[in-house]
């Protein structure tokens, strides 16, 4: 009698994705050094080195750090003087636990002044693909091109600085948001609204950042934001932009149930999603006069962590984390 549980049918119910272009491979860039020794390797090369290093007794801690600093090319501590205990235990959790209470308290109070760590439950750091530009207009001219013979003026140096081309005179994100604001193809109205939004951002008071809703890492201090409204806008949008979306694969979970598969978004897609959320929650407001003002206030609310858009983003991320088992990575060779 054959076994009642068929292994083939079991394997068939496991979902997997067949589209090769939608897959991505997670491979570490730097391979860990080989732990195992092949037959060709000499048997005691590493151990010999270790014994050499370990043969000497450890120097005094000040001498050690001076030696380390010398290797790193920095200025180390003065060997003639002692090293303060705080410096010695810096970054060493185990040693800090063994410090006297007074010094532990002092350390703690020092740490509490630093910005609080994020309470977000997922890592949301995104790679900047545009080289950390953050929307600052580059007004500087590039190198001067030698004059063409016979011409009155020299040729312009390429690429043209931002703002010099009539069709690309606005920042990239400003252009994208303008197009998303546009209704019925009325781009000029959208541009006017965009200008009003930026003007509102630059005249509104300095935002107070909510530590529970951390903005992008590396964000400038909030006092810098109103003076650079494009950066303000970029920061608001990129901070709430979701990293993923949930793709429902119909019937893949069996029994007509859709299988949720998290799919990463590109930068432009992420921004688009965030802007659409912001615009939707702005147009639900009743209390302000103009659309531009509503959108601008929503952007300020995003930066201050008051906006409901944050919850939406967190919900998506939570769902994506829950559904991450559904991702099928390509088989490793």
């Amino acid at each position: 009698m054959p076994p009642r549980i068929s292994l083939f049918s079991l394997a068939r119910s496991i979902p997997y994705r067949t589209k090769p272009q939608a897959q991505w491979s997670v491979q570490p860039l730097v391979r860990a050094p080989q732990q195992c020794r092949t037959f060709a390797d000499s048997k005691d090369s590493t151990t010999a080195k270790q014994t050499d290093a370990n043969a000497q007794p450890l120097p005094h801690i000040t001498e050690e750090s001076a030696k380390t600093a010398k290797i790193m090319g920095e200025k180390g501590p003065d060997i003639s003087q002692g090293t303060p205990v705080e410096e010695v235990v810096k970054g060493d959790k185990e040693m800090q636990d063994k410090l006297p209470k007074v010094m532990q308290d002092a350390l703690k109070s020092k740490n509490s002044q630093s910005p609080p760590k994020g309470s977000r439950s997922y890592s949301t750091t995104a790679m900047m693909t545009e080289g950390g530009d953050m929307g600052l207009a580059d007004m500087s001219q590039s190198t001067v091109v030698p004059a063409a013979p016979g011409a009155k003026f020299p040729l312009p140096s390429l690429p043209l600085p931002q703002g010099s081309h009539v069709k690309h005179r606005y920042d990239g994100i400003v252009e994208q948001v303008t197009n998303l604001i546009m209704r019925h193809g009325e781009k000029s109205v959208a541009q006017r609204n965009m200008a009003l939004i930026l003007q509102h951002l630059r005249t509104s008071p300095i935002p107070t950042i909510n530590p529970n809703r951390p903005l992008l890492p590396g964000a400038p201090p909030p006092s810098h934001l109103p003076l650079n409204p494009v950066l303000y806008l970029t920061l608001a949008i990129d901070s709430v932009a979701p990293l993923l979306r949930i793709r429902n694969m119909k019937g893949a979970a069996g029994g007509g149930v859709a299988l949720q598969i998290p799919v990463p978004l590109g930068q432009r897609q992420r921004r688009r999603t965030a802007v659409e959320w912001i615009l939707a929650s702005a147009s639900r407001k009743k209390n302000r006069s103009t659309y531009a003002q509503k959108v601008a206030e929503e952007l300020v609310a995003v930066v201050e962590g008051r906006s409901s858009v944050w919850d939406r983003r967190n919900a998506i991320h939570k769902q994506a984390v829950a559904a991450r088992a559904n991702i099928v990575l390509p088989r490793k060779r």
């Binding site: 006017r192 965009m194 003007q199 005249t203 003076l227 209390n287 006069s289």
Partner: protein, 473 residues
């Protein structure tokens, strides 16, 4: 026949015809009994079964008011109150706390305002002058004041011409002071309203009396009440609420005249207190709008007494008062704007029919964005420009246009003050101020200045602001 049967017939009759209360009173003693009848159950409406409604007919629309159909939630904030949005639209914001303080910015004051050395630089407006200018509505909501820390103006070439005019008026000998009349012309966004503001500012700093009609349209669009002026021939009309408001603005902006004594006898509806000052005179007009015009006339008479300061009288949006107003006379004919008392007061001095004994400037600005087409005004301005700059090329009157003769007569010999673009040096000073305020994020060098100056249509100041500071290129 038993009596009961006849009675029964009567009750039946009464039940049908008379009111039941009446029937009860008359026939209270008659015993009411139920008679055998099958009509009641026959005509009774059939009770509906619960939860069973007939399906709607095909093609008919039904009202669907299910709960949860409409999106609940969202913002529960208050809706704007009546007039709140208009107030927001008209609000004049004069400072931006985010903008950086410009350390090199000096203030205009009584001494330096007429100096030649302030030309081409940006100067701040002192606080008391800001209050005065705000009181006379010289700041407009669409101007870019809200982007900077505090209001400042660039002293352009035309402002220096204005300063020269002020000097001329002040240097006139007692009794023979000049009355200067000018109409500011120029393209849209070339800074005409701001030049009026600068004129008012200079006059205020020189302790002149400052009177401003901030928007000529408000005088003629029939939004304020009007009344015929008794004893005027031809009929004139006063605008009492507007005049009362104007009087209160004059009092707020000109603190220096408030304590001057009233020197003449005036026929006012209310008696003046003994040893009255101009403040008490104006207060009467503010408190009782019906008497505001006679108070205004009395105030004007007081201001034109010898020894009183010169007057700066300005209006913005001149074209509106150069045609018929929206008001109607008693025989339903449109009232010409010149028949409104305040407008007539202004036009008399603008046309030169009257002159100010203590000297002064009558200053009118045309508007580029809100002005009706008035052929007579346009033709007069062309003539004035030709008279000043090219007398050999006097324009000819087009006989096919309808020219208003009253306007032609009034603007016969008024000079214009044409506003052109900024020079590159002025543009550079302005852009350096923008950059120091943190509103322009670029290095201000010759390349940038030249580029933006050209983009702004050869230094049109409004366009320059738009290409450098505003986020709309």
């Amino acid at each position: 026949m038993p009596p009961s049967s006849s009675l029964r017939g009567v009750t039946q009759l009464l039940r049908e015809t008379v009111q039941p209360s009446f029937a009860c009173r008359r026939l209270g003693e008659v015993q009411q009994t139920a008679y055998l009848s099958t009509s009641a159950p026959r005509f009774a409406s059939v009770p509906k079964k619960k939860g069973l409604t007939a399906a709607p007919k095909k093609g008919t629309k039904t009202l669907n008011v299910k709960k949860g159909r409409k999106q609940s939630g969202g913002d529960t904030g208050k809706k704007p109150a009546v007039g709140e949005r208009k107030a927001m639209r008209k609000a004049v914001v004069l400072s931006n706390n985010n903008a950086l303080e410009v350390s090199s910015l000096k203030n205009l004051d009584n001494e330096n305002v007429l100096d030649a050395e302030i030309a081409g630089k940006v100067y701040g407006i002192p606080d008391d002058a800001i209050d005065a200018l705000r009181a006379v509505d010289a700041f407009k909501p669409k101007q870019g004041w809200k982007l900077f820390r505090r209001p400042a103006v660039v002293v352009r070439k035309e402002a220096m011409q204005l300063a020269q005019l002020i000097k001329e008026v002040e240097s006139g000998s007692e009794g023979a002071k000049k009355t200067v009349r000018r109409i500011i012309t120029g393209e849209r966004m070339s800074g005409k309203s701001t030049l009026v503001l600068q004129g008012l500012l200079m006059a205020h700093l020189r302790n002149w009396v400052v009177i401003n009609l901030p928007e000529a349209q408000d005088l003629v669009n029939a939004h304020t009440e009007y009344a015929p002026l008794q004893g005027s021939q031809p009929m004139q009309y006063t605008q009492d609420t507007y005049t009362a408001n104007l009087l209160s603005q004059i009092l707020k902006a000109n603190k220096q005249i408030a304590d001057l004594p009233v020197t003449k006898e005036h026929s006012l509806p209310q008696p003046l207190p003994p040893k009255a000052t101009l403040r008490s005179l104006i207060d009467i007009g503010v408190a009782t709008p019906e008497s505001s015009w006679s108070v205004f006339a009395a105030l004007w008479e007081e201001l034109t007494q010898p020894g009183r300061p010169p007057i700066m009288f300005a209006i913005d949006g001149l074209a509106h008062i150069m045609r018929n107003s929206e008001y109607l006379s008693a025989d339903v004919k449109p009232i010409h704007a010149f028949d409104l008392t305040i407008v007539r007061q202004f036009v008399d001095y603008l046309s030169g029919a009257k002159s100010l004994p203590n000297g002064g400037i009558i200053f009118a600005a045309t508007s580029g964005s809100n002005s009706p087409t008035v052929d007579a005004l346009n033709f007069s301005l062309q003539c004035a420009a030709a008279r000043q700059f090219a007398p050999e090329k006097m324009p000819r009157w087009n006989p096919y246009t309808n020219l208003d003769m009253r306007v032609m007569e009034a603007l016969k010999d008024v000079d214009t003050l044409p506003l052109k673009g900024l020079t590159k040096e002025e543009a550079r000073a302005l852009m350096e101020y923008y950059a120091e305020s943190g509103m322009l994020r670029a290095k201000v060098d010759d390349g940038l200045v030249g580029e933006r100056w050209a983009l702004a249509g050869m230094g049109n100041i409004g366009e320059l602001e738009r290409t450098t500071v505003r986020m709309r290129v």
